[in-house]
């Protein structure tokens, strides 16, 4: 599984956390952040899946309260595994910060 980048954004589109695993220029990063927000925020929770096609890759996201946790992975990766990885990550963050 190859993660290209991780973004945590709020509902307005402000990026709270970003980690890039690859060579992205400043300009590219801003463009990607805006696009990811546009794609993810407009999806309806109930009837939409957690996976979106994005530029030859896939974004796997989940919404926790007001934050969208988005992982960008390759098209041939196991999506549910990534989804669970996001959940594990959030759980660890929670327990680390004493929630």
């Amino acid at each position: 599984m190859r993660i290209r980048f991780i973004l945590v954004q709020n509902r307005q589109g402000k990026t709270r956390l970003e980690k890039w695993y690859g060579n992205y220029s400043e300009q590219e990063r801003n463009k990607l952040k805006a696009e990811v927000h546009r794609t993810v925020a407009s999806r309806d929770q109930k009837h939409q899946s957690n996976f979106v096609e994005f530029h030859n890759h896939r974004i796997i996201y989940r919404r926790y309260a007001g934050l969208f946790f988005c992982f960008c992975v390759d098209t041939n990766d196991n999506e549910l595994a990534c989804l669970e990885a996001i959940h594990l990550f959030v759980e660890i963050l929670d327990s680390y910060h004493g929630n």
């Binding site: 390759d74 990766d77 549910l80 595994a81």
Partner: protein, 920 residues
């Protein structure tokens, strides 16, 4: 650089000194700074690297880890070569803690991904594989990722990984042998299971029945466990993720059709599930199933559901449904599916429409049973989706129409209809105009489609269309002038009107066509506007557009969308490249008999040429067949069993190679698709060789790469396309790409030529000539050719003239002393008998070309030739070399004796001469 007038520097030196400190906190900060600041050619790089190397072997665990962290974050490849060995040692050492092992594995993975060439993983890959079975799950996880990446590059070395992975899976899944820490919502180590299942997909099904049974039981267990409905979302997700991966593996293994059918049923249940995620995954996995299953019937039962999914609320699900429909299409269902897709195209959103159009176009072409259907569908497609597709679709339509005569009449009729329809889309207009221009005469006799009607229809539409469409229409009008002389004046009037058009392109076209039409000559117009020949067969631009979307993944895809045929092609290609027996994709049957019997082992050279005669080959074989790199005398019986064309090609290749041993420039390889030429210049101990790659075929070739490398005598490869390492034990011959030249072009047109220069340096006496590997893709099929480069010790010999009297004195001296080399052979040279004088001249040329100075009058026999040369190497000094050729015309034999101060030199020169004389 300055800031507010003050000089600024970033403290590289301080960072380096921090790294060297003993305290952990300082070291940590130092490495942090270094990983952010360091660039490739910095002067401090060497200091940093030596510190890193020392720290990796430090007994203190923390220090090792911080060093490894730094390595992972530093971004250039030079580091990889130098430190990989150290990291591997740490990984494999029994003293290293679990923590360090994990970090080492991940660090190696990072390095491997960033600089796959610099990290020569072939050597240590096999040693890492046993760690897959490590009791600690953390280590297994890290090593699994590393081995997955390795398995894609080095399938041979990592072969054992499959069985280790299976046993480990069994331990977790069936034996319930896992630590409690790794249980995630009641599922044991889900990510480990997924990684192992994914790893197994990169290997073919295991051969031993026992392993296979074990694997089946694991899969069955996983399927059974998932039958119970879990309560929590996370548990369900984890279970399903493992289940889907297991199904993917099951499909890939393709062992048991019963299993496949069961999977189909399971998947059928998933596609109708209420959870969107599950629907999505079900559709995707079913597309995978469609690629491998024998009959599509189990899948077809769900066609209704799938078509309904096209209207699903979620756009991702709709995409998957489209891909699945595309993959499961076959001759029976094609019509139904295509009409459904066309119906949906009208209501679907724009992003999806383009892909749909592409797929519909490809499907219609593949499965068209009646030509009328094809034309109807394509025209409808163009009208529906016209704005959203590129030009490739209507180009493809035209190509197909031109290639098939039966289509032409019907397409003309439809074209005229389209032009008359109330709404006519741009691309539809273009297609119609083109078709009428070429084949309008076919329907000219029918009522209502006389030439004048065609022209009127065209004219009626022209003002409303864009510039590009109008340009096509003008060409059609010009063709009408040729086709239908009776309406010439009307056509000319149209052209005349556009001569004053504002747009430059239109104006130019109109003027030129007008001039063409009004010129006096009889023949010019018909010749220029003659009917277009069908386009050459090449891979559809549509297919290549589709495949481009699939390409961009870090780990290779094990399957692609599109059903059975395309996956089968992919597997054949991959099998052809990596199998140890020479099985070429298109010559499977023939090659199987001729492939490598042990008898061919004795002749390295001729088998090496045999490799160049086929298009696909494996690096392993060439290594096996080259014994000590010494080229022995030709034996023609080694080439029996090959067809006459192959044999002829092999003899020609031998001749090319032999000629290049004494002539500087010439053709190295002349194949069906490519031609490789060589231009060489030597100034011992260095030389420069230029490789010219010419495209002989009618299709362009892409993704060209040319590598030159030296194989050591014991079979190890020392690839040197980048700067060679400082201490180089292995490389007797260095070959690298010359600096400062432009890179190879990304594509080569037919009859085009690309060139690449290599600098060669002879460090010590070497016996193995280097190999040239040329890889390219033509018409979607990747090809790799390996050729032996004509660079031998003999090329580094300079001629030296010595007085006549000295020659035999030296000759005796070399013959008497011990430890001096002599090589003597008696060769059959039938060409001597034919024409002695000409043969003698030829031999003189050869000897001169090989770097020897001919000494006339030294030998009492007038026919004998003697020569003197000096071989120069960088590291080992210079070797004197004396040559004596004694031809005996009457018997058709020649005795060749070489005496040199180094036995290897003598041997190599002798074999070269044998090859040259033998190939005449």
């Amino acid at each position: 650089m300055s800031l507010l007038g003050y000089d600024v520097n970033f403290g590289h030196r301080e960072a380096v000194s921090l790294i060297n400190s003993v305290k952990y906190s300082e070291k940590q900060i130092g490495y942090l700074a270094v990983s952010l600041l360091l660039i490739e050619h910095d002067e401090y790089t060497r200091a940093v690297l030596s510190t890193l190397r020392r720290d990796i072997h430090d007994p203190n665990e923390w220090i090792v880890c911080v060093a490894l962290n730094a390595i992972s974050n530093i971004t250039f490849g030079g580091i990889a070569e130098l430190l990989t060995e150290d990291i591997v040692v740490q990984l494999l050492s029994p003293a290293a803690s679990i923590f360090i092992k994990k970090k080492c594995a991940l660090c190696l993975l990072r390095l491997l991904r960033r600089a796959p060439d610099a990290v020569d993983a072939g050597q240590w890959a096999a040693k890492i594989v046993p760690y897959l079975g490590h009791p600690d799950i953390g280590v297994t996880l890290s090593v699994a990722s590393l081995v997955t990446a390795l398995a894609q590059q080095f399938p041979e070395e990592t072969r054992k990984a499959a069985s280790v992975a299976i046993h480990r899976l069994k331990a977790v899944v069936i034996d319930n042998d896992y630590p409690v820490d790794y249980v995630y919502y009641k599922v044991p180590a889900p990510w480990l299971q997924i990684k192992l299942l994914r790893l197994l997909q990169y290997f073919p099904a295991p051969e031993s029945a026992e392993l296979r049974a074990l694997l089946m039981s694991i899969l069955r267990h996983i399927i059974n466990v998932s039958q119970e409905v879990p309560r929590e979302l996370q548990q369900m997700d984890a279970q399903y993720s493992i289940l889907f991966e297991a199904i993917n593996l099951g499909i890939h293994l393709d062992i048991d059709q019963g299993l496949m059918r069961e999977c189909a049923v399971l998947l059928g249940r998933f596609i109708t599930s209420r959870e969107t995620n599950v629907r999505y995954l079900g559709l995707e996995t079913m597309a995978h199933l469609a690629a491998y299953i024998d009959t599509l019937d189990p899948i077809k039962t769900y066609q209704g559901v799938i078509v309904r999914s096209l209207r699903d609320r979620d756009v991702s699900v709709r995409r998957r449904a489209l891909d699945l429909l595309y993959s499961m299409c076959d001759v029976d269902t094609a019509r139904g599916i295509v009409s459904e897709l066309l119906r949906h195209m009208a209501v679907s959103d724009f992003a999806l429409r383009e892909e749909m159009a592409l797929k519909v176009a490809i499907l219609t072409e593949k499965y068209a049973t009646e030509y009328s259907w094809y034309v109807d569908v394509m025209m409808r497609l163009v009208s529906l989706a016209g704005d959203h597709m590129g030009d490739e679709v209507w180009h493809r339509i035209v190509q197909v129409v031109l290639a098939n005569e039966e289509l032409q009449l019907y397409s003309c009729k439809i074209a005229l209809q389209t032009l008359r329809a109330p709404v006519c889309h741009e691309s539809a207009f273009k297609v119609s105009a083109y078709v009428l221009g070429e084949f309008g005469h076919l329907i000219a006799n029918a009522q209502d489609s006389a030439p004048i009607d065609q022209l009127k229809a065209l004219q009626a539409r022209m003002p409303a269309t864009s510039q590009a469409a109008r340009a096509v229409a003008l060409t059609t009008v010009a063709k009408f002038v040729n086709l239908f002389p009776e309406i010439k004046t009307l056509c000319l009037r149209v052209l005349d009107r556009y001569r004053g058009a504002l747009d430059a392109e239109l104006q130019q076209r109109a003027c030129e066509y007008y001039a063409l039409a009004t010129v006096e000559s009889e023949d010019l117009l018909p010749t220029v506007l003659e009917e277009m020949p069908p386009f050459p067969e090449r891979q559809s631009a549509l297919m290549s557009r589709l495949l481009k979307r699939e390409g961009d993944t870090e780990d290779q895809r094990t399957w692609v969308y599109g059903g059975r045929e395309i996956n089968r092609e992919r597997n054949l290609q991959k099998a052809g490249k990596s199998s140890t027996s020479l099985v070429s994709a298109d010559k499977e049957e023939r090659e199987e008999e001729e492939a490598l019997s042990p008898g061919e082992n004795n002749n390295a050279a001729s088998v090496a040429y045999a490799k160049t005669a086929t298009t696909l080959q494996s690096a392993d074989d060439v290594r096996q067949k080259q014994n000590a790199g010494v080229v022995q005398e030709e034996k023609d019986d080694a080439t029996t069993g090959l067809t006459p064309e192959e044999q002829e090609r092999i003899t020609k290749s031998k001749r090319h190679y032999a000629r290049l041993l004494w002539e500087g420039d010439g053709i190295l390889f002349d194949g069906d698709e490519i031609q490789v030429g060589v231009v060489a210049q030597y100034k011992p101990p260095a030389g420069r060789i230029g490789i010219f790659l010419g495209n002989k075929s009618t299709a362009p070739i892409y993704d060209i790469s040319i590598h030159a490398f030296v194989r050591d005598d014991d079979g190890a490869t020392a690839e040197m396309t980048t700067a060679p390492p400082a201490t180089d034990e292995k490389g007797a011959l260095g070959i690298q790409q010359a600096a400062g030249q432009e890179a190879l072009p990304s594509s080569l047109m037919p009859l085009g030529q690309a060139r690449l220069f290599f600098d060669v340096a002879c460090r010590r006496v070497f016996a193995t000539p280097p190999t040239l590997r040329i890889a390219y893709t033509m018409a979607g099929a990747p090809t790799v050719s390996e050729l032996q480069l004509p660079i031998t010790m003999g090329h580094f010999i300079d001629p030296v003239t010595i007085p006549v009297s000295d020659f035999f004195a030296r000759w005796k001296q070399l013959g008497d002393s011990a430890g001096i080399g002599e090589a003597q052979n008696v060769l059959k040279t039938p060409f001597l008998a034919a024409d002695t004088v000409e043969a003698g001249q030829w031999m003189r040329n050869v000897i001169g070309g090989m770097g020897f100075a001919l000494i006339h009058g030294a030998d009492p026999e007038p026919d004998n030739l003697v020569g003197v040369g000096i071989a120069t190497t960088e590291g080992s000094g210079r070797f004197g070399c004396l040559l004596r050729v004694e031809p005996k015309a009457l018997h058709g034999l020649t005795r060749v004796t070489i005496r040199a101060t180094n036995p290897d030199v003598a041997r190599v020169v002798a074999t070269n001469i044998n090859m040259v004389f033998g190939s005449r």
